[in-house]
């Protein structure tokens, strides 16, 4: 919808210094513009207050579902849109232009829960969960990280033991986006047969998901612990299609792809804000934007955003062609998050004291990106993945 009359204009014009739109299809541009308008009209008016109050704006779930943004690349037969990876990336970019918390919700729902159910689930699991999740009627979360095992998921302590037709799951997960509000949790647990994925349902005996409060980052997003105390899970809830760490790691590759695009949206929002602010703010009798130090910062932002846009677009093309490797995704996640965080910090600096207030977006983005820098593979871990890829020597084993 583009029905913005001049008096209510809330349009956002993303930086496109290299005419990247020429590389997109008409359909991809339509998806991008639709998501962009949605964020302007429905996210921007509510996000600051939600962030301050540490509340996920749950009314947005139905709206993003109606637009088709949950699991958009999965096939139509499961209630999804069957979009390509670049359209998915653009959706993430535009949502994160609003807030990393909203993009995180969509990443977890689509890439970390719907995708593995689609890729590794039984037909019955797919029929039961995917249409409900696409419609936003069921919320999912993904449990891999544990209190004592972050970058080293192979050390997980959560165990699932076979008991007749069921499994008994014990353990704890931490830093789980959507945990408290989830209807289904994809929990990865060690079995005698290696790591396997189990669909734990809200209300199962012994399964609780308390919210983790007092965050300075991703405040408009629900973060939780998952506590499993002798939870009895039917074998029908086990994902039959994958065993071993490649299961959860392949999910992370899907989600990191979206993150690489998403953070560029946050960077574009910060650049836009810094540009407008410094053009309007007058000091020493002239606009801040006329000073060389400011221009140098803007030039650096434009350069890095443009490079990130090219990286993410190429990553999308590799994914389309089936040539993508997890290391390709690591490079894009590592680079784009790092640059977005630097841009958010620089924007905060350029806005001076105003930059620390809730009147402006840059500090909210900056604080969010500190989480994104750490989650889904820390910056350091992606560095070592690339290091291993080019030397053939793993630094962490």
């Amino acid at each position: 919808m583009t029905s913005i009359l001049p008096e209510t204009s809330t349009t956002f014009r993303g930086l496109d210094y290299y005419d990247m739109d020429d590389l997109l299809t008409e359909e991809e541009i339509m998806v991008r513009d639709m998501t962009r308008n949605f964020v302007s009209e429905h996210v921007m008016p509510v996000i600051e207050e939600a962030y301050e109050n540490a509340e996920f704006p749950r009314h947005l779930i139905k709206l993003v579902a109606d637009l088709g943004l949950l699991g958009p690349t999965l096939p139509e037969e499961y209630g999804c849109a069957g979009m390509g990876p670049i359209a998915y990336g653009l959706i993430c970019q535009e949502l994160e232009r609003g807030d990393s918390g909203l993009r995180s919700f969509v990443s977890v729902q689509g890439s970390l829960v719907m995708w593995p159910i689609f890729a590794y689930g039984s037909e019955e699991q797919k029929r039961r969960w995917l249409p409900e999740m696409a419609a936003g009627r069921a919320i999912g979360c993904f449990g891999l990280t544990e209190p004592d095992h972050g970058s080293d998921p192979g050390g997980m302590e959560t165990r699932a033991k076979r008991d007749g037709d069921d499994w008994i799951v014990n353990g704890a997960k931490m830093w789980i986006t959507n945990g408290t509000i989830a209807d289904v949790a994809l929990v990865w647990a060690m079995t005698d047969d290696g790591v396997q994925g189990f669909l734990l349902e809200k209300g199962m005996d012994g399964f609780t998901a308390p919210e983790q409060k007092r965050k300075f980052s991703l405040r408009a997003s629900v973060t939780s612990e998952l506590v499993m105390d002798h939870v009895r899970v039917p074998d029908a809830n086990r994902l039959p299609g994958v065993k071993g760490l490649k299961g959860p790691l392949s999910c992370l590759s899907q989600a990191r792809f979206g993150i690489a695009w998403g953070v560029t949206g946050a960077a574009m929002a910060c650049y836009d804000e810094a540009l407008n602010y410094t053009k309007g703010r007058v000091q020493f009798g002239k606009p801040l934007a006329s000073f060389q130090l400011i221009q140098a910062k803007l030039a650096e932002m434009v350069s890095e955003i443009t490079k990130s846009q090219l990286v993410q677009w190429r990553l999308g093309k590799l994914k389309e062609a089936g040539k993508i490797r997890p290391q390709h995704v690591s490079l894009a996640k590592r680079n784009n998050v790092h640059q977005a965080l630097k841009i958010a910090r620089t924007a905060r600096d350029m806005l001076g004291a105003n930059g620390i207030t809730a009147e402006y977006q840059c500090m909210r983005h900056m604080c969010n990106l500190e989480s994104v820098y750490t989650y889904e593979g820390t910056h350091s871990i992606h560095t070592l993945i690339l290091g291993q890829d080019v030397t053939g020597i793993a630094a962490y084993s």
Partner: protein, 252 residues
């Protein structure tokens, strides 16, 4: 029921307008194009009739440059069934009379029970095409319709009259209505709609090579906004500010 919705591609409403070197047209480099918002209101009215009656067919018709298909696809993604693209690379500088002629020819050939237009395109803000189209097609016309519904062989159209009155008309079909903002918010083109739109037909017509009936002599930007002025200080200034708001700015 077959509803034709006439749409125009216009510069996004927050575009920074620049005049081209010829001094008579817009500089369209780096312009982002959208469907004119009033046309979206018209389309939403048509789609709500279709939502309630599956036999209703909604057809988009637009005079637009050959390469400009994104706006047509957007309308199809919102839910229209098909589109007629009258290709004209000069579409944006065509005068209203020529535009209405081209639309009327296409609508006459395709046939329609109801023709909806936005009350105006938000580029030149002239608001002529809808009424000229009714004239060309020899059909009755109601302008600036806020809401409408079909009742048998009539369309019931509601509009704001002078002095805040509400006027409700019954018009025999076929008819032409121009639509303004009402309570029906245009829907988003969601992902499923965008995927479906890829398979929906766009019929391409060549615009008849008719000459414009008018030419633009000069196009100028408005004068720079004058600097603010201080009319007094404290409470003493209130009456003067009120007077200026009433008499000069005419906003009260």
């Amino acid at each position: 029921m077959k509803i034709m919705v006439c749409v125009k591609r216009v510069p996004a409403t927050d575009s920074r307008i620049k005049i081209a070197a010829d001094g008579t047209s817009l500089d369209t480099t780096s312009i982002e194009w959208i469907v004119s918002p009033y046309d979206e209101f018209a389309l939403e009215q048509a789609l709500q009739i279709k939502d309630a009656d599956a036999d209703t067919e909604v057809v988009i018709v637009s005079l637009a440059p050959a390469a400009a298909t994104k706006e047509l696809r957007t309308c199809l993604a919102m839910g229209a069934d098909s589109a007629i693209h009258i290709k004209d690379d000069q579409a944006n500088t065509r005068d209203a009379f020529t535009t209405a002629s081209a639309l009327a020819d296409a609508i006459r050939d395709a046939g329609a029970d109801l023709i909806l237009c936005g009350k105006m395109a938000v580029d030149h803000d002239q608001g002529q095409v809808g009424t000229l189209l009714a004239y060309k097609l020899d059909l009755p016309c109601v302008t600036e319709v806020r809401d409408l519904k079909i009742d048998g062989n009539e369309v019931i159209a509601e509009r704001a009259g002078g002095g805040g009155t509400k006027e409700t008309y019954a018009v025999p079909l076929p008819a032409v209505l121009t639509v303004t903002k009402g309570d029906k918010e245009p829907r988003y083109a969601n992902l499923k709609g965008i995927m479906k739109a890829k398979k929906k037909p766009i019929e391409e017509l060549e615009a008849a090579a008719g000459a414009d009936h008018m030419t633009v002599k000069v196009m100028e930007l408005p004068p720079e906004r004058p600097a603010g002025r201080i009319v007094g200080e404290g409470v003493d200034a209130v009456s003067e500010v009120m007077r200026l708001l009433r008499e000069e700015a005419k906003v009260l």
